[in-house]
Point group: D2
């Protein structure tokens, strides 16, 4: 049985990545693509790498007839997304890739994003889209909120450890390195090749990155008490990839065992042998997560390194994984392609 | 029906690329993997990006039982390949990715490669593996010689034009730009990141690159007379991709029409609208070829730009495409994945 | 004796490069820096790599008192430059880095740039700034027009050959590869890291690049007859560098001898031994030009490869070299720093 | 007065960087260059970017007459260096760039490097080469041990804080990102462009990196008690640059004040305004260090980010700075060039 989907915001990187993935899915058909400012253009013009595919012409959201759509992916900017989704049919299955429905507390949303939420009822309805942690809820959900790509990486590295109580909750430091596509297809000076290539820098230093809202919310839920991590992201001269180096206090073997048990049946999560650490090269373009554990020379301290592709597992791959669950498809359908290396 | 294949030389880039592609093929099973110097190791150790796959441990070629193998991919270095293939069962279907069986004339082989050929009878038997030009021969072949990656790009840009007699055969200049993976996983100073990143240079200047042997052989066959092109490759700081800028004397519209007609039914070749030119970004990781045609400001001169991924369409994708034909599979099976962008 | 200079348009890459170079010049003092939209900001804010220098705060052009200025560098956008320079004191020495005064014929200017020239008298006054070819004129000039960076590269590769009559003037093809900083600090989608890194493409194909106006003008002057070259630039994933591969009909030894004689006394031009070709790695950040000559396998054809750094010798280094002449300084002062490698 | 210097190991990156820097020094002459395996070659062949310089031909160390040499730079591999230096004249001034004389305790040396030290007397004589911390000792020294490039970066970020007692000595985590040239010009698979470009990874995880020996030694000296930091380096796809993100417990304002006071008179160290953080782009090719301080959202925690160019301030620039002191030259001579950006 074929499911018809629409993708709103198809002219951005997460939109293009969704199309790339769906191209390999046997049971999903792309019925409509929107991009308000590029309405009327062909996808071959906007993303020439999709030139070989037979895709609908870009239209405005208003021009889409949602009656035949089984599920809608929303790859719109933050804030726009909540307004658009509020106006969509209330029985339409939706996977949102923006930040708009990640935080369930309106006050927290306003604290991190600066504006009051325009669709508080939907905020309450939305299920947090970290598949491995909310699988059953997602399968039953109508509206799923895709997670932040950094937030996903950090949760894969910390969720099971916090849940199992094997690390000191007050001493967690996450130093994260990410590629530039996470910033989207936006015209900013610091995203130019000439400004980024051959250099790297920290940004949002000091605990001001918005994905901390997700860490605070999710880790508190798991721990049953507030957990505040330190989190410093760095921009790396590469297009894809997130690598989180997490410094925790806890026993490395216990930590490794905890991961091994927690992720034993997960199709996309590879726990590396004790002492090995992953590389962003080895997950590029795939939906896999690689996690490594190493004891530090200082007794009682452990380094956890987790790594994924921000556009795939961190965003569009996660979205398709969730859509598979919502549509009754096999969770891994269209997502088992190997990484591209070199 | 499942076909069992072996891959010899699985520790190089073309071997890894074959495995990546076959991972998405429903009817091909990898039964054996060889890498003489790394025999005994797991593929996860040699190529951690394939860690999620259940693959045979690397063995020596001598340890492979070929009786259950339907087809063997040879991704070995030049010269080694001819010796190994000469010793394989004579009824085994083989797709060779090395340079050893590309030239059918032993004298030409020796001229370009410097040594006498060690398996002249197989050299005579081998079919040249440019699928779009030798489809029927390949389907019936036992031994297929994968083409040079530069040679494939240049032939897509010139073959139909030479065949149709629409360009001046004595005035062809091909300026080619290629990524570094074409040089393989070899430890050479000029392939180091610190030596290559942020810079670029011509190499094999003056008509000494070995792929000229293929151009000479194939273009003479098409034209029925010798055709000598000028050919200068350049090493670009990128991992994948070949982009050939070809300067010809002929009418741009006639040339564009010739391509459109020649490639009308080809699943992997996209002729761009007149005036557009391709980018290596837009074919990366895929089996597609993009070809553009632009008239120069000087009347009677035309620029043709052709572009593909050297590891996919230029090598392992081409090999799988040929294997599909030899095994009676649909030619495009396992090869329709979209390019990875960004 | 210290010369006071002003730099107009100091917030772009060529402005920053001028400051970097002048930092090493013993006799030039930067007295004023303008950047209309960033007036009031410090250079440390606009270009943090210049943070250690004691530089004037950015002001508007109108706020500069030119009475104490000995020479003014104009690093403004095309079209703006001619308007600004027309309003500057007529006795002020000026080195313009824009395209506005490169073409001396108003009709040619309008043909390539699309608008009538706003300062035709200055256009007539300006001296073309290719130092090695116009040294005496530049030393005596008040207004010098910096050349296009591609145009400079091509002229180093062809000027002496055309002048000596050793190549066929109707059969010149220049295939050029350039880094992205030549496009300036402009917010365009194709200049984003995510769009450019790991890929490459031709642009302005077919003889429409504006630097052809300079080739046409200068080569006709040298040859005493029209010379139309074919010229295709390519954008390469690197920040700096231009490498021109030029295909000519002529004898390689004669060509090499011609270069050796023409550039014998030039401090910045290295003619490589016959058969060697240059790399953009080896001129980065310097004012040097490397030129190589190789005979093709086809008799009577030769490949010339010329290479320089677009921001240094192609633009700001050239500008300082010219300023040195205009100010009576040693031509090489501040410009002999070695390239940065790796 | 001109000083004659020899550079041993001139065919590596630090050797080439020394030559680049000395090219801009008015009072230092390069009298001899050695490279045992490349003896007899010209530097233009080994490093074509130095082609414009008039440099001595490479010789073996044994062929150098040290009687006219005022100072010798040793850019040899670890272990080789101690053997070579032991055999040099005992009155020759030496700046060693290897790891051989960084650790003063023979047991510590053996612990980190695996072999007993071959020149324990020289180990005792050598002065640790972190100029800003050992200025007077270096000026009086005969043998100076260049620091590790990572070690230098970390000490700039922590030395004054440990000295002033303003951070918790038991809770220091340093997450470091470095470019690939720090690994030298060595033929290793993971240093290939195809393996490194577009990806990144941690290495030497868990407290096994040799530069920890330097941290332990120096921080204990400053603190008067053992200080063990956690230290994880990461390999970034860039050629130059080290950026250390250091997580400490202490008050951000006090920390910023401490840096401001400690580095007030340092010509090469820029303490950024509170809240700003540096980028490796902005120190490339220069001898500058940029240091930023940001308070974390968690009270009492602070992030310090320090950044320098590994080949310049981290190695060859530091070496020249020390040589200036040893030769009675101005400490900054030849070292004030601005960074190369972009």
């Amino acid at each position: 049985m074929t499911h018809n989907v629409a993708i709103l915001g198809a002219s951005g990187y997460t939109g293009a990545e969704l199309i790339r993935l769906i191209a390999g899915h046997p049971n999903i058909e792309i019925a409509a693509l929107s991009a308000d400012r590029k309405a009327g253009q062909s996808m071959a013009g906007v993303f020439p790498h999709l030139r070989h595919m037979d895709l609908p012409t870009l239209v405005t959201i208003g021009d889409i007839d949602f009656s035949g759509i089984d599920l809608c992916f929303c790859a719109l900017p933050h804030k726009t997304s909540q307004e658009v989704i509020a106006a969509l049919p209330r029985d339409l299955k939706i996977v949102d890739l923006s930040a708009d429905f990640r935080l369930s507390d309106p006050a927290e949303y306003q604290k991190w994003y600066g504006n009051p939420h325009a669709a508080v009822d939907l905020q309450a309805e939305a299920v947090y889209g970290l598949t491995e942690f909310y699988r059953d809820d997602i399968a039953a959900a109508r509206l799923v909120a895709g997670t932040g790509c950094n937030a996903a990486t950090g949760q894969f590295a910390l969720g099971p450890l916090i849940g199992a109580g094997v690390i000191d909750l007050d001493e967690i430091i996450m130093d994260l390195k990410c590629g530039v596509s996470g910033a989207g297809r936006s015209l900013k000076e610091n995203l130019l090749h000439a400004e980024l290539s051959e250099g790297y820098n920290a940004y949002s230093v000091g605990g001001v990155h918005r994905h901390l809202g997700e860490f605070d919310q999710e880790f508190a839920k798991i721990a049953g008490r507030p957990v505040h991590v330190q989190f410093t992201p760095h921009l790396i001269p590469a297009n894809r990839g997130i690598l989180a180096t997490v410094y925790v206090k806890g026993d490395a073997q216990v930590i490794h065992d905890t991961f091994t048990a927690a992720y034993a049946d997960e199709p996309f999560i590879c726990v590396l042998p004790m002492g090995d650490t992953p590389s962003s090269h080895h997950v590029r373009g795939s939906n896999f997560v690689h996690i490594g554990v190493v004891p530090d020379r200082i007794a009682g301290r452990t380094i956890v390194v987790a790594c994924l592709d921000n556009l795939t597992k961190g965003s569009s791959g996660q979205a398709l994984q969730n859509a598979n669950l919502m549509l009754g498809e096999n969770e891994t359908e269209g997502l088992m392609m190997a990484p591209l290396f070199p």
